[in-house]
Symmetry: C2
Subunit: 224 residues, 2 copies
DNA sequence: CGCTCTCTTGAGCCCGCTCAACGACAGTGG
DNA sequence: CCACTGTCGTTGAGCGGGCTCAAGAGAGCG
């Protein structure tokens, strides 16, 4: 299931040290770097939750499935984001690489020790998880109360902000992923986007994967 | 907006000390007890996030609003639940008492110090917040991918479990709250419940506020 | 008893879903 | 080089689950 194409020995020590001091001021415990190819599974729902991760490059989706295959993607994780930390023994959701992904894996077992040795570590990690919780709250409003247009507008503005490439949004995920993230079908995602093009809100390029926000104000209005 | 009907002096010292050692093994910092009446606001969206809370008795709802008044209740908080801890300066959602509520308020400013002095405190609090995050993930599946029937079934089973009163679920919240929690309208909530009665899944009593789960297996099947 | 708040029920509509077809590429192999 | 195949995105037609609008039924309370 998992690939370990990059191991500590192949990564220059300087890089490892920078990585180690990056998330929190963890001194002794260097994270493990791992590479995953497009579509590969970092972990599945029900796997033992040995590690949690920080994205270095690429995009990771975390998702839950219903028994009949319906899927909800709770978040896309971009470089800098932390995911996979859970209170239970097992992972309650799956994580998959959307494109080529590099992550830093932190051992959960060292977690308690780290928290004890370095309270600042705990504080930073806590604030990271609290930000995840806030995002989840925001997303629940979207899922429960927004229309298809509003969902797309919110999604595009959010992605634009997180990718900080101005008005040009290069989506790494396909329509199915967007649909499962926004609680829509792929057809509705597609239709909503073309309608937004007609309304002059956005422009599509590069096989629909690149989206240019040509009317931010208009999108913002849909964002409530 | 807020009422402080119970202050330290009115609470026996013994009770305060028990409360203090209850959530975590916090030694020095006793939480403040506060009472709120039905419908009262503990804090509003945008308020300075000075405290976070643990429910002692009653039910609290936390909610976010869209500009036109659409509401999403992200969670109901029952005795023992912790809420209101956020990474930002301000509260990103509102908290209101559904019935008569008693909470313990913890100062956020003492939070960093506590984390430093007592790492175990941090660990427990972290695991509490991680459980909140898991609940949020679970709820996103419900909001994004479940039908009205499935939403109600999940909600009823979850409430039954959390209230641990067996098959008898005494709902403290009204239909509007349930609707805004499940991403439905009040009419759909009502219709779904009556349909469940017809299907022999549940029984209604006490003006619809008490629900008896007469066919758990049937409900579980809807829960996926 | 009348007032208000909450919940239920009915009728009809619409947004987003389902089902289906098609177009645009990108491999891949002969 | 082109035919074949699979993946991904778009578009159309029609349907239906849950919404809107509206009225009525209970329940609690002064």
């Amino acid at each position: 299931m998992q690939t370990y194409s990059a191991r500590a020995s192949r990564i220059p020590a300087a890089v490892v040290m920078r990585a180690a001091t990056n998330l929190p001021t963890a001194i002794a415990v260097a994270p493990i770097r791992r590479n995953f190819g497009k579509g590969e599974e970092l972990f599945a729902e029900g796997d033992k939750a040995e590690y949690f991760y920080k994205v270095v490059s690429g995009t990771v989706r975390t998702a839950k499935l219903l028994s009949d295959g319906r899927r909800q993607i709770d978040a896309f994780h971009l470089p800098g984001d932390v995911f996979g930390l859970e209170s239970s023994e097992d992972h309650r959701f799956a994580a998959e690489a959307i494109d080529n992904v590099v992550v830093e894996a932190y051992r959960k077992s060292q977690f308690a020790r780290l928290l004890h040795d370095d309270p600042e570590f705990g504080q930073k990690l806590m604030s990271t998880m609290l930000r995840n919780l806030e995002r989840a709250h925001e997303h629940m409003v979207l899922l429960g109360r927004k229309t298809a247009q509003e969902k797309m507008a919110t999604f595009l503005l959010d992605m634009a902000e997180r990718l900080h490439k101005g008005d040009q949004v290069e989506l790494s995920m396909q329509r199915t992923d967007i649909a499962d993230h926004l609680g829509l079908t792929i057809e509705t995602v597609s239709r909503t986007l073309t309608q937004m093009v007609r309304d002059g809100l956005i422009k599509l390029a590069a096989a629909g994967r690149t989206i240019i926000l040509s009317d931010r104000a208009g999108l913002q209005q849909l964002n409530s």
